[in-house]
Subunit: 376 residues, 4 copies
């Protein structure tokens, strides 16, 4: 379905060739300062063609708030946002049209909806994510105002070039502690904060682009300044909703939080995060953070961090032996130039979905906390 | 929250020391044959202490259907199920009680609910999963009757002993195609279908048990005979809901579908799954299955397979340097014997959550399909 | 479906001849004192056969809390509650079984579920409401602790014997202001607080009982000490959710709030509720209360009051000319003695549903209010 | 909240002075023919100022589909619809601005959201209903194609001029059987199908307009050609969701289905609807229809009919003694001309909400029906 969240609730619409894409965000607290200026930066970071163009294209993917604010403040009513599509004509794909593109959603959309949209995979298009990113600007404003929460994602792997993501590694923990969006973007369009690896990643991508091929990678994301107590066991554990959010992003193939897959090698005696008293705040904290900031589905106040693998882009101009919808064997080669690696552009989308999850978790927890005063 | 699903809807209750645990399943189609005999087998597979005991303990974790069936058939009304707790007294943990157990949910439950249940982490206890497993028996019956759907999970890794899970490896694909629960259980309590690796895994676990320590591992799960068209873009893509389901299981730290994390190395030319016509069925199928049976969030009819890492159990009897709730440093050592590896017991829980996801996806898609006749 | 509410969420189960009926209540704030003693009184008021029996039947409809409390306090986890059914055998209705009872749910359940439960109308049985009443005890405790909220329903009409319910009538407003459950029950089993009318109502019921017939009536309910700001426009206006709740009660045929149906005669100049300053509290209040305590879907702090009509009971032992399931004409006469008027027993159910609505509205509003501090 | 429905799901946005109002409709079955021409008629019927203007204002409240259709057919993806607001500037109400308008939502919105939108009551404005009416065009197309379902509402009372709505009255039943939107509109702007009463109603309204006052009335609605089996007990009984829908309409004060409030006088022997075999269709039908087409919360195939009272419009230009937000006593008189009776314009809104309820109930039931084939 196209709605995400329970109290902070986002509903998106739109596909590639319709009039516009956008969303309605319900449940936004009132009196929060908000204008399009809060929303545009991440939309701009999400835009395609950023790295190849030197001219600013600020006029593109421009979001317009339709409702729910007045004089630059939220009213508490639903906020609708719209981004116009430039290319609104249903395409004529001619020959290619007979082929469901391998590893695309053309075939499955046909099976599910019994109709072939000119955009092929309908809502599986990356353009659909604009509504999510627009909505996330509201969520981030709320989280930032509430607890100075910060959400930063970066490229941690392309092909087989990977940062060391061992949770017990102090360099990795330092990065999680200090990385900012500014630093990420300063690394160039690859968005990997390690300059040496960034260079290697660019070479990997260029190689596959030269081969009319594509390659995948991994996005790692950290959420800092998280209040304790967020997340709703048993089914809506905070990491479960984050996983849901991340796997809803086109081309993502997985999710791991904290020590993740590689942590299964660690015995309990090393994996457990022991407690200590933070003298400054008077609160308990953990010495290590293999848990990734969540225990039993509830935030413990440490940094939340997780990684999301993205497969190589399915659209390649190399020839592929495949079959038409009718089952005839043939060769398909996509026309035009295509993005050889979706990872750098996925970064604001990962941040967006993380923000939506955290905003909703915060509001739900707020509905509970009042009781501590009532029943004290 | 404690409800999962939209049409096939499961609500669970219960923690370690209350009177009973169980669930209500709403949205079950009527006229389906169903008795406790359909539900007990997976509950029995989930039970603790299976491998160490030679005496059958069939009397334990016995489920009782309370409502929603008559003369062995479902009525279409909610089905409530109850499993009594044997140990219903709130515990007196005495000394240990002052320590939030490292990497347990004691601390976060206290932060969230401002109360310390005698069970410590409240619903984070594995006992909570009984309601899920009971509910899954209904889902599996439905899926089996509808399309002969089969869901089989197995241990694919313990510590650093791992099966080869490369999706392009024919042996791995063969296992996915042929594995059954009978074969899994025939491998002994470790539930790894590779006899050689199974032996090594047992040794790993025994080593850590000897050290009063624990170790993690990975569960891999396959779903066969899946109809095309299941899954609800954009937010409720089938893999997104599966990820949500898996990360809601205690101690799980991740999820990957199809090629997953290791697939990011594969260029599009190798990762894409080309189509061919299956002469027998007259339907398109894919030559490879890196997608893991889902494209664009919708099932494509191939096997769905995914893996879930589980961390090492947090409760160990080794001494741990940590702090009390009040922030005093000290040493905690859990008393008694504890499960050194949760992976084998997680298997029916992974299967259960997969079944709940698939049943709900099936019913939602059914609400759409009628239209193809109406608008033909 | 069998779930009601968004944050304070009740899921019920059970029909007449299954093992038990009950519910799971999710989203209950932690640390609230709660035992079965809080829940039993309303269940006892709901019980059938109260007025004819002099012996106490306290052993009946006894609720057992299964989970979610410890040492008499809520944990914040789901609270499951069970009431055993005494008559658990599927009935053999023999001859009557061929007839769908007129104005019962036998026919529609058969059409919907394609199965004939031995209880006929399955969940349409009044026994289903036990779960609602059990859950309401939790909601009422919360509301009472939070703002001293009080919910009192009473019989305002039986057949054509009716209290004056004109909202501009001072006597009526006085009743709304001062009525208590104790006063309602002191009026005898008819539960009408006007002694003269109560006597007439009893006579009406006795007349119809003598004729082997039945009669309907109206329940009026008032909610006092309501905080301002509850209710979620635009679809979940407070009166809309109350209407939903009331029409979900078996045999109810309508809902009106404040001036309701008779208020349409009043011109705006008389119907509008002008404001004045309450010197004591420093808050605005309204001079009249035709709105019934809600404006624009949001509580304004005045008493919320509404009325719900209940039709005459469908099961009568008088002969009725009707048809069998197979369409054969015939005569049906229900055996045994039947309740000639459901109105008095509906009172705790109306109160229960009102409490569930208010508790959920309160928790949702709490998720919003924190922002006023953040954005001050 | 601003979302209605579970499978056929409508989310609306917008208030009086923002850029646009509209909605997103999710869960629409694919392949259904749909263009703006299907949606505009009801939006045009909803528009203000219709009766006083002789010039057509077709250019106003023009809906634009943004997504979810291609070549005039639905894709199965969300359909977003937008209607631009003409007056987009936040108003300057000057003096009036200090007064919360009596029986408006100004005060309660302030209490709930702690902010004063220039539109006063924010989403309580009638303009919010545009999104509902736009969405209903999709629902009606679906219902019409599926079972030729028809939904027709009409003015049945203004002030104390009322049609005879006794369900046992054959004239009333005849109207329910034969009324169409064309007939309703042919009665003139008052939309009462009884010409004599229509004239009297107009006089009542003119009298109150002359007095700078307003008056209320009742809308009655019938739904014909309803399949059996729709509605989801126990909480989402069909009449409960209809009541929810109707009470969510601004200015509505109640709901009654079938015999409603006046039916409580009828003994069971007269109120019960006996069955007979309809030789033509081979299905059971009922001789009378006091139930209003629903029994036990499930449609029985008879006409569904219900009535909704609307209070007199709150905005009147007569002087009212009231208080400012600050509690100072004063006199408020609304400027300009105001609608003295909202009833005629409420008609397409009542039809819209009925259509949304029925479409959702239909799709949910379809998710269940497949099982009858599976388990036959």
């Amino acid at each position: 379905m196209s709605t995400f969240g329970r109290i902070f609730k986002v509903t998106t619409y739109g596909e590639s060739h319709c009039k516009s894409v956008g969303c309605i965000v319900d449940g936004v607290p009132p009196n929060m300062p908000l204008t399009e200026l809060d929303l545009q930066p991440q939309l701009t970071r999400r835009r395609p063609g950023q790295s190849k163009l030197t001219t600013p294209r600020n006029e593109k993917d421009k979001v317009e708030i339709q409702s729910g604010t007045e004089f630059g403040k939220t009213l508490g009513t639903p906020i609708a946002m719209i981004v116009k599509n430039e290319d609104q004509r249903p395409h004529d794909y001619s020959d290619m049209d007979n082929y469901p593109r391998p590893s695309h959603a053309d075939f499955t959309y046909m099976e599910k909806y019994q109709t072939k949209a000119s955009s092929g995979g309908g809502r599986s298009s990356a353009r659909e994510t604009i509504g999510r990113v627009a909505a996330s600007g509201i969520a981030e404003k709320l989280l930032s105002k509430f607890s100075n929460m910060e959400i930063v994602a970066f490229t941690s792997q392309v092909g087989d070039v990977s940062m060391n993501k061992n949770p017990l590694d102090p360099t990795f923990q330092k990065i999680l502690q200090t990385i900012t969006r500014e630093k990420v973007d300063a690394c160039g369009p690859i968005r990997c904060p390690d300059p040496k690896l960034a260079g290697e990643m660019v070479k990997v991508i260029e190689k596959y682009r030269g081969d009319h091929d594509s390659i995948g990678g991994v996005v790692t994301c950290v959420i800092r300044n998280v209040p304790t107590g967020l997340g709703e066991p048993c089914f809506d554990k905070l990491e479960a909703v984050l996983a849901h959010a991340m796997l809803s992003i086109p081309a993502s193939k997985g999710f791991e939080i904290g020590s993740g897959f590689q942590g299964v090698n660690l015995p309990g005696s090393k994996h457990n995060d022991p407690f200590y008293l933070d003298e400054e705040t008077g609160k308990l904290r953990t010495k290590t953070n293999n848990s990734g900031g969540i225990q039993g589905g509830i935030s413990n106040g440490e940094n939340i961090y997780f990684s999301v693998p993205f497969k190589s882009a399915a659209t390649i101009s190399q020839e592929q032996e495949t079959a038409t919808y009718d089952g005839e064997n043939g060769v398909l080669a996509a026309k035009g130039r295509h993005d050889p690696c979706v990872v750098p552009r996925a970064i604001p989308i990962v941040e967006a979905m993380a923000a939506l999850v955290m905003a909703d978790a915060l509001l739900i927890q707020k509905s509970r906390e009042f009781s501590s005063k009532v029943f004290a």
